[in-house]
């Protein structure tokens, strides 16, 4: 098998805008799937609404393109009914953390053995560039002309409330670390979340001063630094991985812990 076999290349070019970061995530996901022997008979993709949700249509797997925000209930049910399957959720920050926020809280708590790959472009791209749950304070968007008023949601902090979870922060520029994070997450026994900073040049980047998608990638290159090994907490713009205590696949979250950082 080859990476290309994981993709429906006959449907290319994709609907994603030139310069979009999603393809960079799909490429690394396909690479890791090939390395791990994941194929259409042992793996299911669950995607949400937003540009990222189209990924399921471009991969040679069976996939469920859910309602907006509903990836996690669907994915968790599939895993519960068919524990032998690898279940991978791919979605954007708005789908995962805003409209799907309540599901995210409780999936984290229940610790299902699923992997979430979040294309975090800090914007509602498909609907034209409205502020989302991860938009930095002060960012001018078409729904926050005076700058986004509220702090972005703390995905790392949420995921780490489960002491048995896996959280990685990476960017689409850092292909090696992203591949490693996706691979480790897919092998993690329990809830794993890969938070990928990714550019939306058309409906965000250009409005906030970037001339091109490459400028955004270069921004990731210079702004994001690797966290010291063994970090229990990642600062903003740090690349790294925060792991809890792994428990057997499908097992319950470790009892007696209310906070993975404690």
């Amino acid at each position: 098998m080859a990476v290309k076999d994981k993709l429906k290349v006959d449907l290319f070019p994709t609907i994603w805008c030139p310069g979009c970061g999603i393809g960079l995530i799909m490429q690394q996901l396909a690479t890791v799937m090939d390395e791990l022997g994941l194929d259409k008979s042992n793996t299911v993709l669950v995607t949400g609404i937003g540009c990222t949700g189209r990924m399921g249509a471009y991969m040679n797997f069976e996939s469920v393109y859910t309602l907006h925000g509903r990836t996690l209930p669907v994915a968790e049910a599939i895993k519960m009914v068919r524990p032998e399957l690898k279940v991978i959720v791919v979605s954007g920050d708005g789908d995962t953390a805003s409209i799907g926020g309540n599901h995210l809280l409780h999936s984290i708590r229940r610790n299902p053995d699923i992997t979430v790959i979040c294309n975090n472009n800090e914007i509602y791209g498909l609907t034209g560039g409205q502020a989302g749950p991860t938009t930095p304070v002060g960012t001018s968007t078409i729904s926050s002309p005076a700058g986004a008023a509220y702090s972005p949601i703390n995905l790392q902090g949420l995921v780490n409330t489960n002491p048995n979870s896996y959280y990685a922060k990476t960017t689409v520029y850092h292909q090696g670390p992203m591949r490693k994070a996706i691979r480790e997450a897919l092998e993690w026994p329990g809830f794993a979340f890969v938070d990928v900073a990714s550019q939306c040049i058309e409906n965000n980047g250009r409005r906030i001063g970037f001339a091109s998608a490459n400028d955004m990638l270069q921004h990731y290159r210079t702004e994001y630094k690797a966290a010291p090994p063994g970090s229990k907490h990642l600062e903003p713009h740090q690349l790294g991985i925060v792991k809890g205590e792994p428990v057997p696949a499908g097992g319950p979250a470790e009892p007696g812990h209310s906070n993975g950082n404690s």
Partner: protein, 372 residues
């Protein structure tokens, strides 16, 4: 199984298990909570039966869609605002074509309303609750034994129609305990019709309008219309196999009472004075059957636990005026029915004795009950 007291909500769970259900996801809400609780008890001793208590009804409804795609006959149970929260997922299930069963034990709404009181105000929601056009199959039993039977039919119809099928109940029926002997009931079980996920193919299950290859068809009206009629025609054809109703009481009377669910039981003392038509398949409506029967009667009265939801349907179907007896605020009693009949000047001259108002045993009273 032998004769014993069975609760309406318990009968639903037993029917689901009999139908082959192996996945339940739900969220507690009165008056449906016993189904959730008993599903958890059943799961504890039957590892092949998966149970998940969800964070809300949105998750519950989406989870049974995922569970069904994964290969399990799946169901959830809810009431009132919980049913409203599920509407988005129900529409998705219709669009994608996912068999599953949603049990709605009705209480008095809107809003939080009267959580423990019976109502029948979700008929329109069961038909039109989600966005867009779709074809709902909805059953509403009247007895505890029927809760068992029509839960099985609901699963069968879901498999055949590849759509979410709704089983209606109400706070009265769900909490009713009746002597029942469910063991001898034999209803053929329709096996799974949908190849489970990870079949080795590369299907895309999409709530977005798509072509068969997965490419978006979001601006192709012809493709949408083609898929829409294909789904609608299939579900209507399946529904025809489940055209359940009861026609009985005093067929020689000049007035036909239309009543369903628990209301038909409450209206039992009217038996000497009226003919009865009880739709069990609430949606799609039984146009052929009701039109034919209604033609024999001078007047029609719809007695229901809402302010005319089904009366409006009947009036539009028959293109003639029908009388209405709405039972509101949980006042679902023979006294309330008599008051309603008096208001429209149709109270029978000699009220029936208040002796045996409910039929003995748990089976529906004798009548020309059709099962398709």
């Amino acid at each position: 199984m032998t004769k014993r007291l069975v609760q309406g909500n318990e009968a639903v769970l037993l029917g689901a298990v009999k139908a082959g259900a192996t996945f339940f996801a739900g969220y507690p809400i009165s008056p449906s909570s016993e189904i959730l609780a008993q599903a958890s008890v059943y799961a504890a001793s039957h590892p092949e039966f998966r149970f998940l208590q969800e964070e809300d009804e949105i998750a519950s409804a989406n989870a049974i869609l995922g569970g069904s795609l994964a290969g399990a006959k799946s169901f959830t149970a809810t009431s009132g605002p919980g049913f409203s929260l599920m509407q988005e997922a129900i529409g998705y299930g219709h669009k994608v074509g996912i068999p599953c069963v949603i049990v709605n034990v009705m209480r008095v709404g809107p809003g939080t309303g009267m959580p423990t009181m019976p109502g029948q105000g979700d008929l329109n929601q069961a038909r039109y609750g989600s966005t867009g056009d779709y074809t709902s199959i909805v059953f509403y039993p009247s007895t505890v034994t029927e809760c068992y039977e029509y839960t099985i039919h609901a699963f069968n119809a879901a498999e055949e129609s590849r759509s979410p099928v709704i089983l209606m109940s109400d706070a009265f029926l769900g909490h009713l305990n009746e002597v029942a002997d469910l063991g001898p009931i034999e209803i053929p079980i329709v096996p799974r019709t949908l190849e489970p996920l990870a079949s080795g193919s590369t299907r895309l299950f999409s709530g977005v309008a798509t072509y068969p290859d997965g490419e978006p068809a979001t601006a192709d009206s012809d493709e949408f219309i083609r898929q829409y009629y294909e789904g609608r025609d299939h579900r209507l054809a399946v529904a025809e196999k489940y055209a359940f109703y009861e026609y009985g009481w005093n067929k020689d009377a000049d007035t036909l009472v239309v009543a369903f669910g628990i209301t038909r039981r409450i209206a039992q003392p009217l038996a000497p004075h009226f003919a009865l038509f009880r739709p069990i398949r609430i949606w799609p409506t039984l146009d052929k059957e009701l039109t034919e029967i209604a033609g024999r009667y001078e007047k029609i009265i719809v007695i229901e636990g809402s302010d005319g939801q089904y009366a409006n349907v009947v009036e539009r179907m028959l293109l003639r005026r029908v009388e209405r007896v709405p039972l509101l605020g949980g006042r679902m009693s023979i006294e309330a029915i008599r008051e309603g009949l008096a208001r429209i000047g149709m109270l029978p001259a000699e009220p029936a004795s208040s002796g045996s108002e409910f039929p003995a045993g748990s089976r529906a009273p004798a009548g020309s009950r059709s099962v398709g």
